[in-house]
Symmetry: C2
Subunit: 411 residues, 2 copies
């Protein structure tokens, strides 16, 4: 197959991350070097920008502007939650044909990779030559094949820093503190709380992830035990924890359950995901501790949207890798003339290499925390998980130090 | 009055901040230089540590340890919400006499300054020579006389960064976003959201503070107007906003009202403050927008405890000034041999000087946002406020840049 000549279109899908623009800028700057790419277009608001033909000419963005955009969190081109079906993909494909688009890069998570797969298959069926590359990003870290996904290390750094600050706060004014952290089906981000521990009595003392069934009674028993021992307790818990299944065996998130009971209608997006945001879960889990364990000072926070796009809380490793997966997309498409999903493989401790996986191996699949990353009691993570995450958090983690001073003799 | 010779006791009271340990370390290192101070003791958990006689010998902490503690958020000595009455202060005073304590430094907010005042008055009455200094700190920024309070600039930086990230997120996936920010009686911290604006259409589009009565109808009208104009809307709102007064004319926080309706009992601390934390206010304010304005994507977050002790999100100005008010406490007590509260005065744009105010001018008083910092409609802050806050946020604010690329011609 000879190298293709024509336009390139790049877009961003799904939830923003702190480093998704690094991938955008890596792909754009690298693509602009290839003479076969006649134009680099950005589609506004993901696939919707393609069918609406709302494009900006990234060939005409200055490198200075792009380099500053790369440091900016969230999706500079805008995003979408649209989930294209075959008909939608056909419209995408028609726009590509109309504008002689021969390269399509889509930066996104599970659903976005599925979009790339369908568009790519359609092009094959119609004999239209197109290079289609999925560039990974997700704070959820749940794409298969990858060691980890760009966006996750920075979100994990936010969670680690937040919990270490909260731990210092809770050490000064003791009580029970419950943090509700993003993670619908997988506990990767919640597990990052564990890296906040430095001393043996530091929080989080308990970590609950959606990979294990949640039980209020075990939760209360766990907190009671920790509180007896330390006089305080910090809990990190995924928004997606579930205690029951419906008649079809589907896990029902506790948060959705509570929203229904409170008379709120949880929203459901095009991908069938129930909205889990809001503070009801944290409030309820604090309230039950206060009432059932009779502990006076019980506080809770829902980390919410802050954890995925907080400016300045970025893992240096993540920023580099996000940039590189963008650049590699250009190499695979323009030099190697192949389609697929760029993946990160870990080699050594710590280094990575990039490979191209088949779109069918990535698309619409979810990777949950493996068993060896969760402790036997299902209420914390393992050392293996901490070893996995530590290098990803990047350089210059904030200093947290306790006073080291002898007790004064007052007798 | 000759210079006093004896022990020094330092303690920390109230809610932690990101820089309160800078003040601790500034005071400790500077005090250790004065030969008249025979010992530097830290009381654990504020005034409670004094009456319980739980002290650590800070004369024996290494400078390396102290310098690292200075960079650590939250109160390294532990804190307390105890509000000493005359009897409690008498016990404090007795412990001081027992251990020949001649210098007392207390780092805290409104209530802590009142404690220093009472202890000082008691010493006067009993003819016991004691130098008592209040060192200011509060994320609420509501101490009188001061231009601003240590701890506030870093918390303000957190809020500014958070809202600028959320603004970028909301620009990518549009909708209505409501942030509930700390501030019981004063809107200083909520107002900091305004510094996130760079472009005319950036959020926050609306800012509500407890200095103005809140009305759900005006709130909905404001959001409707912004949403019509921009297709999205970001709201920053103080946890302490109130819509009604009780029969005694006291403002009843909306959050406390909602907690009661939800069957939760809001806690009341020793200072008579009702607990405002929890997600109910944010949930309710999002729900009402969704239902009454029929807007699909409405999200809300309660910033909660993250905003006061997030490691690494520190204003460089704040860190310096917090350090200096600690050092100045030692100078006023040891060199000038006087009592009072260290205050920050702004001179020029931007520089400060430190003075010593009378404890009675600071103690238990609250400074709210002045009228000129709030806009005429009571739904945003003024340019004067932005000019006031900008230098306090410190150096190296994160970069947030939009793509600057021409629309591609598709016709």
């Amino acid at each position: 197959m000879s190298r293709l000549r024509g336009r390139m279109v790049i877009a961003q899908g799904g939830g923003p991350t702190a480093v998704i623009n690094q991938s955008l800028v890596g792909a754009v700057l690298e693509s602009r070097k290839f003479p076969d790419i006649t134009d680099v277009w950005g589609a506004l608001h993901g696939v919707r920008g393609i069918v609406n033909e709302t494009f900006v000419s990234l060939s005409e963005a200055t490198t200075h502007n792009l380099e500053r955009v790369a440091q900016t969190p969230s999706s500079a081109l805008g995003s979408t939650r649209d989930k294209p079906d075959a008909e939608y993909c056909h419209r995408i494909f028609n726009v590509f044909r109309k504008h002689d688009v021969r390269y399509f890069f889509y930066i996104g998570g599970n659903d976005s990779s599925d979009t790339v797969r369908i568009v790519n298959e359609q092009a094959d069926q119609e004999g239209y030559e197109l290079r289609a590359i999925h560039i990974p990003k997700t704070v959820d870290n749940d794409l298969p094949v990858n060691d980890h996904c760009p966006g996750y290390p920075s979100a994990a750094r936010f969670v680690t820093c937040a919990i270490s600050g909260v731990n210092a706060d809770n050490n000064a004014l003791s009580g029970v503190y419950i943090a509700v952290i993003m993670g619908r089906h997988a506990g990767w981000l919640t597990a990052a709380a564990a890296l906040a521990r430095k001393h043996d009595d530091d929080g989080p003392h308990l970590v609950y992830v959606p990979e294990r069934q949640f039980s209020i009674d075990r939760y209360l028993g766990d907190i009671d035990r920790v509180y007896q021992q330390h006089g305080r307790c910090i809990v990190a818990l995924s928004e997606g924890v579930w205690a029951t299944r419906n008649e079809k065996g589907k896990e029902i998130p506790l948060a959705a359950d509570l929203m229904s009971k409170a008379g709120r209608e949880p929203q459901v997006d095009a991908h069938g995901n129930i909205q889990l945001s809001g503070g009801a879960l944290a409030d309820e889990l604090a309230d039950i501790v206060q009432k059932r364990l009779n502990i006076k000072r019980v506080r809770s926070d829902t980390f919410g949207y802050l954890q995925r796009s907080f400016p300045g809380v970025v893992s240096s490793i993540d920023a580099c890798e996000a940039r590189e997966v963008g650049e590699k997309a250009a190499h695979y498409a323009c030099r190697h003339n192949v389609d697929g999903s760029v993946v990160i493989k870990r080699i050594g401790n710590y280094a990575v290499k990039y490979e191209l996986a088949r779109l069918t191996d990535i698309a619409a699949k979810t990777r949950r925390l493996p068993d060896e990353y969760i402790n036997a009691d299902g209420n914390h993570v393992s050392d293996a998980f901490c070893n996995y995450l530590r290098p990803l958090l990047g350089d210059d983690l904030p200093c947290l130090e306790r006073l080291s001073a002898p007790v004064a003799r007052v007798g």
